[in-house]
């Protein structure tokens, strides 16, 4: 396609011509009388990383849980475009088909490795399980693929038969990422993936994540309260406050030139002189 034709298709210089991978509209969730999330809408493009930031209690995890089928919103829709090009509202997909999607197309990385790993079986089995869930039935092939993924996440494949509790926190988190990415999902949900780790470990993990996400062209929604993490990983940034998205834009723009007063406060407080 010539540049002129591309311009014609995207007259307003929209960031992408392809339809969004995920389009959320009017998402809302209450817990009793407390509003955890209200009128959240956004679009996520294939291969894009969207960070969701905001202070504690802003509704970030609620949003992620509702999208990834771990909780049910009270209102709204979330249209997901499948590999065959058809779109489905994942909120009304039904349990069976949503779990299938979670198995084949999506991945979830939890803040606490205990929620994302089986501690009773070996590290290798944790990664292989995802492959087996998707029909892999050849042991030697799986071993090779698991070893490859452990290496990519800088875990010595020699340790693949050890139990996860013998791993450090950072290694457990990398193991969780290997388990998630081994099936090459199209969309990954991450809730504070570097939360419990100390700073140097965090930096290495983020670096790894950035490389892998780019290499695999996987789209991701990343919840964090750490603006530095958002800056490092995210193409765009959504700022949440009291359950609402108050600002949404390109990461650098939002961080360098925040428009909403709340974002200005947020940016100011984490960027001390």
């Amino acid at each position: 396609m010539s540049d002129a034709a591309a311009l014609e298709l995207a007259p307003d210089a929209a960031p992408a011509v392809a339809p969004p991978l995920l389009a959320a509209r009017g998402l809302a969730k209450r817990y009793g009388r407390r509003t955890a999330m209200a009128d959240v809408s956004f679009e996520l493009w294939p291969g894009e990383v969207l960070a969701v930031v905001g202070e504690s209690g802003a509704g970030k995890s609620t949003l992620l849980r509702c999208l990834s089928g771990q909780d049910e919103p009270d209102a709204g829709e979330a249209m997901y475009r499948r590999l065959d090009g058809t779109a489905v509202d994942v909120l009304r997909l039904g349990d069976v088909r949503r779990r299938l999607l979670l198995r084949t197309d999506w991945g979830v990385i939890h803040q606490n490795p205990r929620d994302g790993l089986r501690f009773g079986v070996s590290a290798g089995a944790n990664v292989a399980e995802r492959l087996m869930e998707n029909g892999a039935r050849h042991y030697a092939d799986m071993r090779a693929e698991v070893a490859d993924w452990l290496m990519r996440l800088e875990i010595d494949p020699e340790r693949m038969d050890e139990l996860p509790h013998t791993f450090s926190g950072g290694m457990q988190q990398r193991l969780q990422i290997a388990r998630c990415l081994v099936t090459r999902p199209r969309l990954v949900f991450l809730d504070e993936p570097t939360g419990g780790l100390d700073v140097s470990v965090q930096a290495r993990l983020l670096d790894l994540l950035r490389t892998l996400v780019r290499e695999l062209e996987v789209a991701a929604i990343l919840v964090t309260h750490d603006l530095a993490v958002a800056r490092m990983l995210a193409d765009r940034l959504a700022v949440m406050r009291d359950g609402r998205v108050v600002e949404l834009g390109l990461t650098d723009q939002v961080l360098d030139d925040p428009q909403h007063p709340y974002t200005q406060l947020l940016v100011a407080s984490v960027l001390p002189a």
Binding site: D95, V96, R99, R103, R118, G120, V121, S122, G124, A125, A128, E129, R130, M132, E133, N134, R137, H138, Y139, A140, D141, M142, R143, M160, D161
Partner: protein, 283 residues
């Protein structure tokens, strides 16, 4: 038959309830049907699930065989057989061929079962996913979705640790291409006998209150990997008593000096072969 009890001990209403569970189980091969398990005059672990199933299906014209680890003469087998002889007054036998109902713990007879026979298994733990997932709600969901990838984790771990699939008993199977099922603690040697078995197989778990079934001629496949196919045990030895080279053998210590020998675990099969052999010699 002793007075004061209903035929086969259980009251008719309970039997009807259990028969309904059995019918449902037979209609959905491998699916675990909950039932209201009754107190039996035997402790759990003595096969109260199997006994309730047998009690619900047995009729006056039936001939019952009871085995434990393949033998008809162990305490457990003897007391269950006596229980039904007393409470139902039915004929009992040690011959697989003569039995219309065979209640078993830990074995399937070597003599091929035929159409019209029913084999009743005593089941301690019915849920194949329990080792991995303690929550009942979650295992039910996994069954409902045929979400069995996790079950292969066990096979994977076996091979990673021992170089082969080490599970020797209660080896998980998929019934009719759908439900994952525990065949009860039979040796995996017996798994292939379940595949397209002409007899009806019923499984009763008393403590866990579950009944499941494999109807006649249903495909039953043992889980495995392409490069680690399912394989049954084999022995270099033959049975020291009957010379069989194709039956499941137990290793037993025969004297104080620790001398050992291998013999058929199926006592009826073994004695049948010996009788035939001595008959042939006499002729």
């Amino acid at each position: 038959m002793i007075a004061g009890y209903n035929f086969a001990y259980l009251d008719e209403q309970t039997k009807r309830m259990i028969r309904r569970a059995i019918l449902k189980a037979t209609a959905i091969p491998g699916y675990q049907v909950p039932f209201a398990s009754r107190e039996m005059p035997l402790p759990y672990g003595w096969g109260t699930g199997g006994i309730q199933v047998t009690a619900s299906i047995i009729g006056r014209g039936d001939t019952l065989k009871v085995i434990d680890q393949g033998a008809d003469d162990t305490t457990n087998a003897v007391s269950i057989r006596r229980f039904f002889a007393r409470t139902a007054g039915v004929r009992t036998t040690e011959r697989t061929r003569e039995a219309s109902i065979i209640q078993t713990r830990h074995r399937i007879p070597e003599t091929p079962l035929r159409e019209g026979q029913i084999i009743v298994f005593q089941v301690p733990i019915p849920e194949p996913l329990r080792w991995l997932e303690p929550r009942e709600r979650e295992t039910r969901r996994m069954h409902a979705h045929a979400d069995y990838g996790a079950m292969y984790v066990k096979l994977y771990e076996d091979i990673a640790r021992y170089g082969r699939i080490a599970t020797g008993y209660d080896y998980p199977v998929v019934v009719n291409g759908r439900y994952l099922m525990r065949p009860s603690p039979i040796p995996k040697f017996d798994n292939p006998k379940l595949d397209r078995l002409p007899a009806l197989a019923l499984f009763g778990a008393g403590r866990e209150k579950r009944i499941y079934a494999v109807p006649p001629h249903t495909p039953v496949k043992s889980l495995d990997f392409e490069d680690h196919p399912f394989r049954v045990e084999s022995w270099r030895e033959r049975c020291a008593l009957c010379g069989s080279g194709s039956s499941f053998l137990d290793e037993i210590v025969v004297d104080d000096s620790g001398r050992r020998m291998f013999v058929c675990s199926d006592t009826d099969y073994c004695s049948g072969r010996r009788a035939k052999r001595s008959g042939a010699e006499a002729a």
